[in-house]
């Protein structure tokens, strides 16, 4: 199926992505929800809102309508800094340092659980 609309014969399959308008909408926020006490906040999605108060209100309405969380954070998306995958190549190589892992060491069975 789909909610995808079929392309009628003779119609272009290309979809327009912009109206060319310069107008900026409300800023984007990233939403983090703590599902229950004892665990960390987890990224759950994003939304648009004019200010932090309405971002929090919208986050509650959009992401926690069925008790999915006991606490919500919103963070302006432009304040999130991240490794780009290319720059992170050396970071991934950390996996090669197996001596950092507990499983890299043989302990005789006689010693028991360690």
């Amino acid at each position: 199926m789909t909610y995808e609309v079929p392309v009628a014969p003779g119609e272009s399959a290309d979809i327009e992505e912009t109206t060319g308008s310069e107008r900026e909408g409300w800023p984007l926020w990233e939403v983090f929800v703590r599902a229950r006490r004892g665990i960390s906040h987890v990224h759950i999605g994003s939304l648009h809102a004019a200010d932090p108060e309405s971002a929090l209100q919208n986050a509650r309405d959009v992401y926690t309508r069925r008790g999915e969380g006991v606490s919500v954070w919103v963070v302006p998306s432009e304040q999130v800094y991240a490794f780009e995958p290319e720059a992170a190549a050396d970071y991934v190589e950390a996996n090669e340092k197996v001596y950092r892992l507990a499983t890299a060491y043989d302990i005789p069975d006689e010693v028991g659980q360690m």
């Binding site: 199926m1 789909t2 909610y3 995808e4 609309v5 079929p6 392309v7 009628a8 399959a13 290309d14 979809i15 327009e16 992505e17 912009t18 109206t19 308008s21 107008r23 909408g25 409300w26 984007l28 999605g45 994003s46 939304l47 648009h48 809102a49 004019a50 200010d51 309405s54 309405d61 959009v62 309508r65 069925r66 991240a82 780009e84 995958p85």
Partner: protein
């Protein structure tokens, strides 16, 4: 040294997810924008046929359920717009492209909701068909779309069950109520089957979408799944599916069913269904009437930020 194309293909082959900062072929990106935007628009326009019955729901309980469902549809639209935005399109721009008729939404919402039984039929059939599709999409190769689908599927289950329950009650009621339920099934059955799109042999997007693992099951296979699942449910209600060719085929292990009226299908896709014009006009009006709210909120935020500075 692996090329970005090889890296991308390796992710797809390994059943891993492609995530927003990853390199992706332009065709993959465009295909996703098209599909996710149309899906988002469908959720938003889909609020109208049911919104039509909020003020006329038969009990306060049914009214509360219907409002919760329509609110969910708005939420689904928002999850999906967010997913589309990770591909570099803006939400407000998607809205405007929809208003200008340059973006489309599912044809199913271009049919009118004439009786209360339609609220039952929509939940049972339209949301049922949507679930069949969306469960598949939780395995889509693009991470943000797949994640949005997981949330949506959980909520759609409520939608389908509440719809079916409406029909159970009507079918247990007076003969007029049961006729109402039958009439709703008569009108919604074929449009629901049309939701799965053209035959695989006619579908322009299917092959590439399957290769990229955006789509995991073909239109015809999903349609068959839906029919097989739905026929016994209609039998339980004691309603008759309006298809004289519908019968169990023991050799195939599936129900055989009749051919869709493809002329009607394309007529509605091309904008000439019973409600196309009204749905879009209503959407544009709501957006225009909300302009002052968007502007006031932005002005208020700017004033507060200036005071804090």
């Amino acid at each position: 040294m692996t090329t970005p194309e090889e890296k991308f293909q390796a992710l797809i082959d390994a059943e891993e997810k492609v995530e927003p900062p990853d390199w992706m072929p332009e065709g993959y990106r465009k295909n996703l924008i098209r599909q996710i935007a149309q899906h988002a628009h469908s959720e938003i326009i889909g609020m109208q046929p049911e919104g039509n019955w909020i003020s006329r729901a038969p009990t306060l309980h049914r009214k509360a359920i219907l409002m919760a469902k329509v609110q969910d549809e708005a939420g689904h639209g928002l999850y999906l717009y967010s997913a589309a935005e990770t591909l570099g399109v803006k939400r407000d721009e998607m809205q405007e492209l929809l208003h200008q008729g340059k973006h489309k939404y599912s044809s199913i919402f271009n049919y009118p909701t004439l009786s209360w039984a339609d609220m039952g039929a929509i939940g049972w059939l339209v949301d049922g068909a949507a679930i069949t599709n969306q469960v598949m999409l939780t395995r889509c190769s693009y991470g943000p779309y797949a994640r949005a689908m997981v949330r949506i599927c959980k909520e759609e289950s409520f939608h389908q069950r509440q719809g079916y329950e409406i029909l159970i009650r009507l079918c247990q009621g007076t003969s007029e109520q049961k006729e109402m339920a039958q009439d709703a099934l008569d009108r919604w059955w074929w449009p629901s089957l049309m939701m799965f799109g053209p035959h695989d042999s006619e579908s322009t997007h299917t092959e590439q979408s399957m290769e990229w693992k955006i789509k995991r099951v073909s239109n015809d296979d999903l349609r068959q799944q839906f029919v097989d699942m739905t026929v016994p449910q209609a039998e339980y209600l004691g309603l008759e599916i309006p298809d004289p060719e519908l019968r169990w085929n023991p050799e195939r292990g599936h129900y055989d069913f009749g051919e869709i009226d493809w002329e009607e299908f394309w007529r509605v896709v091309k904008g000439n269904g019973p409600m196309n014009r009204e749905r879009l006009e209503h959407k544009v009006r709501a957006w225009e009437e909300g302009t002052w709210v968007r502007e006031a909120a932005a002005a208020h935020a700017a004033k507060k930020a200036a005071r804090a500075a």
